[in-house]
């Protein structure tokens, strides 16, 4: 219900998050309500079970990978800042953001960062390379039991062959970016947040 949830979020925090992620004030308070309603344990942080309670996410073949993206390496809890940082990747790209402070680096929702988010879905061990095994694992998650091992293997081989330019039988981030250069990443990896 979010009753009085926003009173737990201080103005300074909202300003910080606004600067870091680019969300507006009202978007942040609305997302905080959502965070609060997912946080069944009421301890200011979400666990993997809290995400799994969303039925539409639980039936998503890549559900576990997506949930994983919220949690930093080796941690089991994500706080509101972390939640917003991850969601910020999906803000639409706006041209008027070009006049940002140059020392703050690339905004979280740039094309490169969106691609990197998707890359991380495949790169399970976070070693910045997608190996054949990792690709197979993700493929298996998406197709379930409906495709045989051999067929899946050949699909994986073909995909790596197409993308791999330096012959190491793995897909690096730059190879990943090259293969997908014509895809409209800005639109396909963005969510239209209201107000």
């Amino acid at each position: 219900m979010g009753s009085r949830a926003s009173s737990l979020l201080r103005e300074e925090d909202i300003e910080e998050i606004k600067k870091q992620t680019g969300f507006s004030h009202s978007q942040i308070t609305r997302l905080y309500s959502r965070f609060h309603s997912l946080d069944k344990g009421e301890n200011g942080a979400l666990s993997r079970e809290d995400f799994q309670r969303i039925p539409e996410l639980a039936i998503n073949p890549l559900g576990d990978r997506i949930i994983n993206a919220f949690f930093p390496e080796g941690e089991d809890q994500v706080n509101f800042r972390g939640f917003m940082r991850t969601l910020a990747h999906f803000r639409p790209v706006e041209d008027n953001e070009k006049n940002k402070d140059p020392t703050s680096g690339e905004p979280l929702n740039s094309r490169t960062n969106k691609l990197f988010f998707a890359f991380r879905l495949y790169d399970l061990d976070r070693d910045d390379k997608i190996s054949r095994d990792e690709l197979l694992q993700v493929l298996r998650m998406m197709v379930g039991v409906n495709i045989s091992d051999e067929q899946l293997g050949s699909i994986a081989d073909r995909t790596i062959q197409e993308a791999d330019t330096n012959g190491d039988m793995c897909i690096s981030f730059s190879e990943f970016t090259k293969v997908l250069e014509k895809v409209d990443v800005e639109q396909k990896m963005s969510i239209r947040f209201l107000h």
């Binding site: 219900m1 979010g2 009753s3 009085r4 926003s6 009173s7 004030h25 009202s26 308070t29 609305r30 997302l31 309500s33 959502r34 309603s37 997912l38 799994q52 309670r53 969303i54 039925p55 539409e56 996410l57 639980a58 039936i59 998503n60 073949p61 890549l62 559900g63 997506i66 969601l87 999906f90 988010f117 998707a118 879905l121 495949y122 993700v138 493929l139 998406m142 197709v143 379930g144 039991v145 409906n146 495709i147 067929q151 050949s154 699909i155 073909r158 995909t159 993308a163 897909i171 997908l180 014509k182 895809v183 990443v185 396909k188 990896m189 969510i191 239209r192 947040f193 209201l194 107000h195």
Partner: protein, 449 residues
């Protein structure tokens, strides 16, 4: 000291006779003295004034978040094929066996994140967000000080609700329930006859009318010509236990439910004495055939009252209708659908059983402004040829959702407590697999399938 007690006693007697004279007796005869109408009118005016003040306050302080009941995001409603097809259009195609591209994952990723921000199911198990505050702290998401006048009105509201309305309502509830128990027990002593049935109906209706007054309930009935008849099954969307009071104010039904202990048990046992209801032991509920048989026997007897069933199986927050369990639709007989929509402005009727137990829920109800709802009787429906129970259930559900202005969902209300079934994920995987190997099926046509 003696004098003080005597005065208190006299006051109590006066209070009781006022309550009985002005509320209970007219309620029993279905007569309205117009108090509730005036009360509701005053309330509406006050709430409108409060809304204007809040809006004015928001304009002056732009940092106040606007309370909008719209969603957080705008979703694309494309199917899996459409969305992934669009993704692949810009990707260089390779026709040799298997149609997979790395960007396919984008579709699942975006859907997943959208569902994390806003999903269709979890919001149904908490109270609906109001577009404007109705002067009850419990519904206020962003309680900010707006003006002195508003706070005074709010304080006055608290006083009225807790010190005037609450004792009145508790008195009425106690009178209503004791009347039910005593009345049905007395009627139960009579031999079976038409007179007994008539008296039983009278006792039940008057009790529910008293209880409805006890909640300041204003109910608008629509299409009374479709009222459920004997030997039929009445089916409605479920928001709270109060649904029963609302429905039973305008007709007599045979209730279906589990046998309880305590006060509920006493009420159940006495109700059954005057007319047949269907109470199941917990062990019996597991056996679906036994349940179906008892219900079938009940509706086969045309002298018995129509059964009242809530096929969702659990309370939903009145913004949507969730999956109807097919059990009630397999029995046969005529289904009389009923749509119930509460107006959340006056009081939130939803029972969040995870958050409130029955007693605290009833207290919340009795300290709300009022219960205002609309009830539509829909034309009777029967199972058509070639339609199985699930399809029939969905048809009835759509009709109810359409009439009540509720969202029609196929998700199971049981997801309130349980995990979603793996089979749904498997469906998604199957759909995606057919997109990948579609081409292969044509090429590998020589081998045995």
């Amino acid at each position: 000291m003696e004098g003080a007690w005597e005065i208190a006693f006299v006051l109590f007697q006066v209070w009781l006779s006022i309550v009985v004279g002005l509320i209970v007796l007219p309620a029993m005869f279905g007569v309205s003295l117009g108090f509730t109408d005036i009360y509701i009118k005053v309330l509406v005016k006050t709430l409108e004034w409060a809304t204007l003040r809040i809006q004015r306050g928001q304009k002056e302080q732009p940092t106040l978040p606007s309370q909008s009941a719209n969603g957080i995001i705008e979703k694309d409603d494309g199917s899996m094929e459409e969305e992934i097809g669009e993704l692949r259009r810009s990707h260089p195609k390779n026709l040799a066996g298997g149609d997979f591209t790395m960007c396919d994952a984008f579709y699942f990723c975006k859907k997943g994140i959208e569902n994390i921000v806003e999903d269709q199911v979890t919001q149904r198990f908490t109270s609906e967000e109001l577009a404007s505050w109705n002067l009850l702290t419990r519904t206020n998401n962003n309680f900010r000080y707006i003006s002195v006048r508003l706070t005074i009105i709010w304080g006055l509201g608290v006083f009225i609700r807790y010190c005037i309305l609450l004792p009145l309502r508790i008195t009425l509830a106690v009178i209503g329930l004791s009347w039910l128990v005593i009345g049905t027990t007395l009627v139960g002593l009579l031999p079976s006859s038409n007179a007994k049935n008539w008296l039983s109906d009278l006792v039940h209706i008057t009790c529910y009318r008293i209880c409805a007054r006890g909640l300041s309930a204003t109910i608008r009935y629509h299409n009374k010509e479709n009222r459920p008849k004997k030997g039929g099954i009445c089916v409605a969307n479920h928001t709270s236990p109060i649904d029963i009071v609302i429905l039973a104010n305008d007709g007599c039904y045979a209730m279906v439910g589990q046998v309880h202990g305590g006060l509920m048990g006493v009420i159940q046992r006495s109700m059954v004495r005057s007319c047949p209801h269907v109470w199941f032991e917990r062990s019996e509920m597991k056996d679906r055939h036994a349940v179906a048989k008892r219900l079938k026997d009940h509706i086969a007897d045309k002298t018995k009252l129509p059964i009242l069933i809530f096929p969702e199986g659990t309370c939903i927050n009145n913004t949507s209708v969730m999956m109807f369990k097919k059990g009630s639709f397999e029995i046969g007989g005529t289904i009389y659908p009923v749509a119930i929509k509460y107006d959340p402005q006056f009081g939130d009727a939803f029972w969040n059983s995870a958050k409130n137990n029955m007693v605290s829920y009833l207290l919340r109800m009795m300290t709300s402004w009022a219960i205002v709802c609309n009830m539509w009787y829909l034309p009777p429906m029967t199972r058509q040829d070639g339609e199985d129970a699930v399809q029939f259930a969905n048809r009835v559900k759509s009709a109810i959702a359409h009439q009540g202005g509720l969202v029609d969902l196929s998700w199971d209300g049981g997801l309130k407590r349980e995990k979603v079934k793996e089979s749904f994920k498997e469906e998604q995987q199957k759909m995606y697999s057919s997109m990948i190997v579609g081409l292969d099926c044509h090429e590998a046509s020589e081998g045995p399938v």
